[in-house]
Amino acid sequence: MNRIVKMILTLTLLGLISGIALSMVSNYTDPLIEQNQQEALREAVFYVLQPTEDYEERTVDGKVIYESYDESGELVGYSFTASGGGYQGTIELIVGVGTELEEIKGIQILASEETPGLGGKIRGESFKSQFRGLEAGQGIGLVKSEEPERGEIQAITGATISSRAVVDIINKELSRVRSILPEGE
């Protein structure tokens, strides 16, 4: 009996102490982590839509849209996050589009678990820069070896699935945003 009480007491005390310690650490780190995430998103909003001087967050039909303004206060476009399955795990990205919702201004990958050196190259500048000023009125196309034409993206060699995933995620979310945002507002 005595032994059982001792066992229960040990585990209870250990659990209690570690619980208190962890909640203290988490009290300290939570605001910092939150701030890091906000900072990463903020940087991404400025990156995908240039020249953004300031932006406002707006929720339309449950979808968060960032409205970007240039220095004279003119609306330059919208950006929004999108996610979907990649080759390994989920890809989360942010897309910036012009005010007409026809032209993609830029993309940034927020999170991905693609194979380093292959699919991981979707984070690389040479892949992302293809989206700058890309015509997307009819949805983006993907080509493998031939030269990309208007509205098309060249897939990364050896990472067609990851490239296709990025294109599909953008196409899907863009058409959803088109349906909730009245064009040329």
Partner: protein, 194 residues
């Protein structure tokens, strides 16, 4: 006393000799910096939980010792994970799920069961610190080798000329197994000739 500290670095190196903790060793050593941060995080967990277990060793009943060790180890891992996310978010996202998975690293539970739970605090500190440094050493070497043959850099600095064509296999699992086995063989050769 000094023996307790040195053994983990060379003679009983956790990776090259004991072949423990293979999951993080193979998975995160794609570059020097990733190997180093994983090694540091693991060492922090190893030392802090070792000290707590050694200090409490006479109070913890034998029947619930593994459960108690797990509470201490997982709390310590959570602390590391939160601190990494708060202060070095880039590295934390590079290490991904492997940071919380330090909980399952068998070097840690192995050391606590074999050493910390039986030895005084001072000796435990030396033993765990030595093992941690041995682990960091192994991960840094492996990370450097893989980074070098992947893109000709070590720690981000260009070592091989621009003529070097990147070798993708080195950052993939196959490259991890190939480099690790060659390093273990080299390590054995070096230890024998001593």
């Amino acid at each position: 006393m000094i023996k307790e500290f040195v053994k983990g670095i060379w003679k009983e190196n956790p990776v090259f000799v004991q072949v423990l903790g293979m999951c993080p060793t193979l998975a995160v050593t794609t570059s020097l910096i990733n190997g180093l941060s994983m090694g540091l995080a693991t060492t922090f967990v190893l030392v802090s939980s070792g000290l707590a277990i050694s200090a409490l060793r006479k109070l913890i009943p034998d029947q619930v010792r593994i459960a108690s060790f797990m509470i201490i180890i997982s709390s310590s891992v959570t602390v590391v994970k939160l601190l990494f996310e708060a202060h070095i978010p880039e590295i934390s996202s590079q290490l991904g799920p492997y940071l919380p998975l330090i909980v399952t690293n068998c070097i840690i539970l192995g050391r606590q069961e074999a050493f910390s739970s039986k030895q005084p605090v001072g000796k435990t500190l030396l033993d765990n610190l030595g093992m941690g440094i041995g682990f960091i050493f192994a991960l840094v070497v492996l990370g450097s080798v893989r980074e070098l043959f992947y893109q000709g850099t070590i720690g981000g600095a260009q070592v091989l000329g621009t003529w070097y064509k990147s070798m993708i296999i080195m950052v993939q699992p196959a490259g991890a197994f190939i480099s690790l086995s060659l390093l273990v063989a080299l390590f054995q050769r070096l230890s024998e000739s001593e």
